[in-house]
Amino acid sequence: MSFHQKYSKKVIKKAQKGDRFALTQIYELYKSPVFHLAYQMLRDEHRANDVLQTVMLKMMNTISNLADTKKFNGWLKRITYNTVIDTIRANQKLVDVGDESEYQYSAEEISHQIDKPDWDLEQFLDVLNERERIVVWLYAIDGYTHSEVAQSIGVSEQNSRIIFSRAMKSLKSLAADPRYSGRQIGGKDETA
């Protein structure tokens, strides 16, 4: 379920005036997309719930400032990303990776791994740390550039590239390990 929901402009207008029913309609329409996105990036149901409620509170308090109702989907998605990033930042997981070098991966090789029948994105996301996960999600899944990712999460563009390359390294390791049968939420770098 994506953020590309069909909503009524009347509902948005009513919500902007504080209409509770309209706000509830918006919640019902977007609760799953918001929760899903938060969960995929945090891999933690409890914190994804917190993000959901925070996003909805922000929506209720700032929807009156939204000038163009056509941009509601993108606006709410941006709030969700920012809230997730704030959550990760609160745990101090978004520090620069310093002068670590970028892992040199083969795009063809990685593509080949993803094409395998036993490829499991959930498994892959589980082994990444939060910083890697959000970079992979923004850059690879949502189509941000490294520059945009860097701006969103407050690291340098080079850092964004390094983080992504490390995620690719994990992907390669995961695919190469025949014993792998699922790891615990958080992954090896989660507490680093």
Partner: protein
């Protein structure tokens, strides 16, 4: 540093993401949302009230000015009138008479003509009173003379308006 061509990786990861099982929040979250929603009016309501209060105050001011203008007349004009001395009033009256003179009373309909006669009689009465004051040379009644000329100007304006209404009707 080598720049990777990630297009294929991004496309494949994006497709994988689309195929992920949809995660849904628990129904308990709906209750939490409703609780948060209940707390909302305390802030949102105040904003609306403030906006409403501003509009009510603005509307009240506009209404007061409008009603004052309609029933009392423009306060700015009222303040200007005391500065109008006798010479100005006489000049205004003569100017109005010149303007009225170009009209032909035979163009008026019965009702307008009756009104015309009434106003003309009133003007004659005012003129007689003025003549009386001027012939008696009672200087202390200067304020009364001023009032009569003001009255004359008003009646002459009413007279002029009869013709102007007639012209307007004819144009339509």
């Amino acid at each position: 540093m080598k720049q990777h061509n990630d297009q294929a990786i991004r496309a494949k990861l994006s497709r994988s993401a689309d195929a992920l099982e949809q995660k849904h929040p628990s129904s308990k979250q709906d209750l939490i949302f409703q609780d948060n929603l209940e707390k909302l009016p305390s802030t949102q309501g105040k904003i609306e009230q403030r906006k409403m209060l501003k509009w009510v105050v603005a509307a009240g001011i506009i209404l007061s000015v409008g009603l004052t203008t309609v029933y009392v007349g423009n306060p700015l004009q009222k303040e200007a009138s005391p500065e109008k001395g006798l010479p100005q009033l006489i000049a205004s009256s003569n100017q109005l008479e010149k303007q009225i003179a170009i009209y032909d009373e035979l163009t008026l309909n019965a009702n307008q003509y009756a009104e015309y006669i009434g106003l003309r009689l009133e003007l004659e009465q005012i003129d007689q009173q003025l003549n009386y004051y001027y012939s008696s040379a009672e200087g202390e009644l200067n304020s009364e003379v001023n009032r009569l000329w003001e009255r004359r100007v008003d009646v002459a304006k009413s007279l002029k308006s009869i013709y102007q209404n007639d012209t307007l009707v004819a144009r339509i």
